[in-house]
Every structure is written in structure tokens, then in C-alpha cells.
């Protein structure tokens, strides 16, 4: 049962990720990416981390992707420019290299036996546990990340603001 669900989520995720790269229209790419991120959230549920799954949907699908779409729509740009596709030359090497590297990745991963990696028997990770860890053991990184978010917010506002001369 669990394997079946994993295969469904994984295949939809991979197909939609391919669509992100292959669709000409950025709005459709954004739709595909949204689907892919939702599937990743489902994978998190399979990995018994519901908090991560919900945060993924909340932050990525709910906010980041809307931001993407908002920018695509707000920028009044020519259709041809918007649909710029593969570069005409110079990068033919990439087409060859990327499948090779992917294949190598898979070969190495599937060839490794992860011994001692038992199935997590503990069930779902409770939110309380993560919250406690964030506010005690990882307090410093937590604060650093919040400062980073603040800086990013200020930076984004400054960047996107119209210049007045």
C-alpha cells in the first residue's frame, strides 16, 4: 500500500517537474511546479513528518508560487520574450551530460545498500517535538533565519520599488 502511494506521488512529481522545464508558457510551468511541490508534500506525509508537509504546502504552494504567478502577471512583457525557450547554441553539451549524470546518480544510489537504516517505528513526529527542538537546541539558527527573512523582506521591497529621480 505504502509503496503504491509512493510510486503514484513520485511519478506525478517527476512528470510535473519535467513539465516545469518543458512548458513554453511560464504560467503553465508555475502550475506544474505547484503540482510537483504538492506531491513532495505528500511524500513528506509518507515520511511521517506532517509538520514538514503542511509547512511545504503553506510556504511553497501557498506563498512562493503565488508570488511567482504574481510577478509573471504584473510584468507587462512581450509574449515571445516570455516564452523564450532553449538557448540556440553553445549548450548542446548539456543535453548529453544531464541524462548521463542522472543515470550515474541512480546507479550509485540504487547500488548502495543502506544498512542499519531501519524503518522509523516511532510513528509521526509530533509538532510539539519539533517546536521544542527549534526553541531550545536550534535557537541560534532559528534566530539567524528570522533575521535573514527580515533582511530579505527589506531587500525585496527596496528592489521592487519604483525609483523616483
Amino acid at each position: 500500500m505504502e509503496r503504491l502511494f509512493f510510486l503514484i506521488f513520485a511519478s506525478v512529481a517527476v512528470v510535473s517537474a519535467l513539465c516545469v522545464v518543458l512548458f513554453r508558457n511560464p504560467v503553465r510551468s508555475a502550475l506544474a511546479l505547484m503540482l510537483c511541490l504538492l506531491q513532495v508534500a505528500c511524500v513528506f506525509v509518507l515520511l511521517r513528518s506532517p509538520f514538514l508537509a503542511v509547512v511545504q504546502v503553506f510556504v511553497y504552494v501557498g506563498a512562493v508560487m503565488v508570488l511567482f504567478l504574481f510577478v509573471v502577471m504584473i510584468l507587462d512583457i512581450r509574449q515571445a520574450e516570455l516564452e523564450a525557450f532553449f538557448p540556440p547554441r553553445n549548450r548542446w553539451l548539456m543535453y548529453a551530460i544531464i541524462p548521463v549524470i542522472t543515470f550515474e546518480f541512480l546507479l550509485v544510489i540504487l547500488g548502495t545498500s543502506f544498512e542499519g537504516f531501519g524503518p522509523g517505528a516511532g510513528g509521526e513526529t509530533k509538532v510539539e517535538v519539533i517546536g521544542r527542538a527549534l526553541f531550545t537546541e536550534y535557537l541560534l539558527p532559528f534566530e539567524v533565519v528570522s533575521v535573514l527573512l527580515l533582511v530579505a523582506m527589506v531587500g525585496a521591497i527596496v528592489m521592487a520599488k519604483k525609483r523616483w529621480d
Partner: protein, 110 residues
């Protein structure tokens, strides 16, 4: 409910998760390398970050260790910050140049 032995056999091996992560990562890389449109390149970066999160969560679950999940939460936060700044830069860029294509942005000054 389902007996313990059945559940053990039904478990998804960790390799599957890592394989999924690596495939998504490579698709993200190809999105960054092959596309001209900056927005799609940013989406590729998002895909890469997400594939890493899958790995972190998978190891966190299979090693019964909380650190993976906590780190994934941080990754998501940093990714959100990154997108905000990147899209801010993009808006400024399109306002001043009117182009969306990475190939045409080649002047350092101006």
C-alpha cells in the same frame, strides 16, 4: 489492523526516496541550465531545494533523528527568502531593461 510483518515488507526502501530526490534535483539543474527565461530558472532552483528536502526528511525518518526535519524547515524558510529577493531583483531588472532572458543580461553596470 495491519500486522507488523506485513507492514515491514510493505515499507518503502530509503533508496527510493533518495532516487526520487536525485531525479528531481537533476530536472531542476536542467531547468537552470537549459532555459533562457529567468523565471523558469528560478523555478529550477526551487526544485533543487525541494529535492534536498526530500532527502533530509527521508534520512530523518529512517535514522529516527529529528535534525533532518529541523534542517528541512530551515531550508524552506531560506528558500522563501531567496525567492522574495530574486523576484525583487527580477522586477527591477525587467523595469530597467525589459528583458526576461538570461542571455541578454550581460552588462555589469547600468
Amino acid at each position: 489492523m495491519i500486522s507488523r510483518t506485513v507492514r515491514r515488507k510493505d515499507m518503502v526502501p530509503i533508496t527510493w526516496y533518495i532516487a526520487l530526490g536525485s531525479v528531481l534535483f537533476m530536472i531542476g539543474v536542467s531547468g537552470v541550465l537549459l532555459r533562457k527565461n529567468i523565471i523558469i530558472m528560478l523555478m529550477g532552483v526551487e526544485l533543487m531545494l525541494n529535492s534536498v528536502n526530500i532527502n533530509l526528511a527521508a534520512f530523518s525518518y529512517y535514522l529516527k533523528d529529528l535534525r533532518g526535519q529541523v534542517f528541512a524547515v530551515f531550508t524552506i524558510t531560506v528558500a522563501a527568502a531567496e525567492v522574495a529577493v530574486a523576484l525583487g531583483i527580477l522586477i527591477a531588472l525587467v523595469r530597467s531593461r525589459g528583458v526576461f532572458s538570461a542571455d541578454k543580461i550581460d552588462t555589469l553596470k547600468g
